[in-house]
Amino acid sequence: MGNVKAQRQVRGVVRDAVTLELLPDVAVQVVGKGEGGYTDAHGYFSFSTVEVGAIRLRLSLMGYESSDVEVDARDALDLHLHPVNQEVEAVRITASYGDLQRHSQAAVVRTLGVEEMKSLSMPSFAQGLEVVPGMHAVSIGRTASKPMIRGMGLNRIAVVDRGIKQEGQQWGMDHALEIDQNAVRRVNIYKGAMSLRYGGDAMGGVLAVNEHSPLPEYGLHADGLTWVESNGWLTGGTLGLSWMGKSFFAEARGTYSYSGDYKVPTDTINYLSYLLPLYNRYLKNTATREAAGAVTLGSFTSLGTLSVTASLVSQRTGFFPGSHGIPSIARVQPDGNRRDIAMPRAESNHWKGILNYVSPHVDACWKFYVDLGYQRNLRAEYSPFHTHYSNQHAPTVDADLELAFDLTTASGQFHAEWTPCAVVQLDFGLSGQWQRHTHGGYGFLLPSFRRAAGGVFAMGSGRVSSCWRLEGGVRFDVGYFSIDGSYDVYLEDYLAGRNIFDRKEIDFYAQRVNSLNKYIYDLSWNLGAYYHAPAGHSVKLYLGQSFRLPSVSELSSNGMHHGAFRHEQGHPALKSEKGVQFDGEYRYGADGLEVAISPFASYYFSYIYLEPTGKWSVLPHAGQRYQYRAARAAMWGGEAEVGWHFLDHYRLMANAALLWQRNLTDGYPLPFCPPVKLQAEGEYRVHGIPERCGTLSLTVLPSYTFAQRDVARNETPTEGYALLDVSVRYAVQRRGWGVTLTTVCSNVFNKKYFNHLSFYRTLNIPEVGRSFRASVGITI
């Protein structure tokens, strides 16, 4: 804040005002100064200036009328030039980063910016993203969740933060995404086969958080947000500081939130023929705590832009007793404390260090990007010592540590961009990742292993005509696993002591993991086309093949999965999951009306699933054994969204997300398929309030989720339900500061419903009932 001569970025695109095609080689200059640049092959320009406030830009290009335009935008600009012999008038339209992302590639992408992120105010990142049709949150409890794109979750989508793929125990159902949503400046949601650019796991899509190294605004700024929710007294706050100077910038953020046990609209839970009482309708031991911190330091000079970010996200989540193993009435008796996080619980600490470097233009046609990351994911599950085997005694140290997972990941990516001529851009890159995992605790779930993965890719894009843009690329990946075997001597003793099993059977069960070393090779590719017509229509067509390496569990497990409560067996011969997906998107926007339709269809040559074998397991309390196998599968569906602004004060939006999935080998639907969902939003901005006093808006958000009866074997179907949320928002923005107050009533009618995608679904635990949430945000 102040009159310091800071450097700021001026960036945007220049278009032909008639055809709206992006214009390369346009000279963009600050009038009277030497600062400026040329638009690249995508019509995109970017340069820095020391000018403060409004500046005058001069645009000139052969065949077009030169024009001067005054800009003061901190966001990206969308400027138009009129061809010669047209009326001389430059029209300025301020476009967002999101529009730029959409226009510059054939992949189907939706961007949520920082304002949208802040207004979501849901307990977790993945739940907030559900406003985008096609997105779902797989949850455990109320604050722990992770995202799913069109039914693809776990490690079938990649979450990428500043260019580095987030690596934790995302293959597990009771894992939560370790990302502080308050540190997300923007997220690009890519739907479709994205392995070409992001490597393995990017099969269903990618959530690219803080992509393209967003820079803070110039000057010194602070923002704070605090929230409280009635159910469980969930309270929290976040505070962020940023500073952008002449050639350096820095950011820091801290977030903390805590929730006690939460209430659900039921008195009893019927699970495995036990009737578990909920005293005062509270779910025992579902308190949670999350703390996060991040620091970024960076510089941008004639040598390029460099930024280094260090962050920690720490979560402690209580689990409802009875969610593991056979329930007992004794374990769900109230412990007298609704705020403590007792056992069973999970704790995770995700440490991250990321370095991003973007070079300046070299020789006017090359640009280089380097991303390096180091992550350490420490996960621990605590449960009072218990065992089925009489020889196993509690450890002397950490007697209640059931499972410990220590995952270290180092990753790096190098990317070169070459623009040999105005209409063509070529990209080359290579990426590598090395992982090491060690396990601990008195239980056993995931063995120790090392994994290495690397890929090399080449892609090109070009402007074929004034309306068409084509792109394509190919990528080759190698994955290497080295898994340590593990033999359970307590299980061996137990089985030998029964005197009814032969040596072969004992070894089969006691060998929890067979050691394994293997290489897996994969090919990915993409072809895309983008058509942008005048009068606001655009069409995208995107076809590609992607893959995901099998998880260590899918390759090598053999034993009871305490969360799923079944005997699961891995298959060492499994290769990567592999599929081809087609995505289309039709968009139309004009006169306050916006329409978007995005159908998709995909076919998987190999989709890894758990097949019930019909053979009984001899492990205590275990039913039949399940074996990981590869199947052929197909998925199809899409989303449709329509939005309408009218009479300056009203906004209506409606969207639908449809999805069908089928395992073509066994003929059953795939498990965890999100049901068809309809959402609507009606917003009214109250008349008569002068602008300097702020804006007051009322919003109603009804939604209807259809029943999901297309279930796999041994999956519980879920009934449909209608929900209503209502919110009131007051925001005022003055020069230098802004305040936002939001109150939300969610599940207004206190409807008792089940989320098909919840870890607690099999326990028949319903979702949160009516809840009131209030938040206050300040930006300076």
Binding site: L272, S273, Y274, I326, S328, P384, F385, H386, T387, H388, Y389, S390, N391, Q392, H393, A394, Y494, G497, R498, I500, Y531, A533, H537, V539, G584, Y586, I597, P599, A601, E611, P612, T613, G614, W616, V618, P620, H621, A622, G623, Q624, W636, G637, G638, L658, W660, R662, D666, G667, Y668, V711, A712, R713, N714, E715, P717
Partner: protein
């Protein structure tokens, strides 16, 4: 014109996929049901050296495949440090009680089946809480399971 062609193609694709779905035959995701008649709520104490009479009614809408009975200790392993000594005349012997475990599977078929079996509890079984698990699968691979709390005691 181009726009209309693209929209038509997209709708045709969604429609075609709908036809594909309706053409698939419905698979069996209906689990079998288990009704445990004995042991029941009032009568779940079992004597050392006695018999546990299990009677369960199994039903499936299509075809039953297999059933399993399993008895395993419900104690958490906290009692594993010590040994239980016998009462009465057994006190003088250095008698070690072993945790009891039992597994047996049965191949079955049809739409209904009454499972009846007597599990023999040895005299040297460790007293305490146990779980009786009754499992059942149908031909399609759907599985149901029911657990009953029982207590093995020395009732002499």
């Amino acid at each position: 014109m181009k726009r209309q062609v693209v929209m038509l193609a997209a709708s045709a694709m969604l429609l075609a996929s709908g036809l594909v779905v309706s053409g698939c035959k419905k698979q069996d995701t209906q689990k079998p049901t288990i009704e445990v008649i004995t042991p029941n709520e009032k009568d779940h104490d079992v004597m050392l050296g006695g018999k546990l009479k299990v009677k369960a009614l199994l039903k499936d809408d299509q075809e039953l495949s297999s059933a399993k009975l399993n008895v395993h200790s419900a104690a958490d392993g906290h009692g594993h440090e010590g040994h239980h000594h016998g009462h009465g005349s057994l006190k003088t012997r250095a008698h070690e009680h072993k945790e009891f475990a039992f597994d047996k599977s049965f191949d079955i078929n049809g739409k209904t089946y009454t499972l009846e079996y007597e599990i023999e509890i040895p005299g040297d079984a460790l007293e305490g809480p146990y779980h009786l698990g009754v499992f059942c699968t149908d031909k399609a691979g759907n599985e149901e399971k029911v657990f009953v709390d029982i207590h093995i005691e020395n009732l002499m």
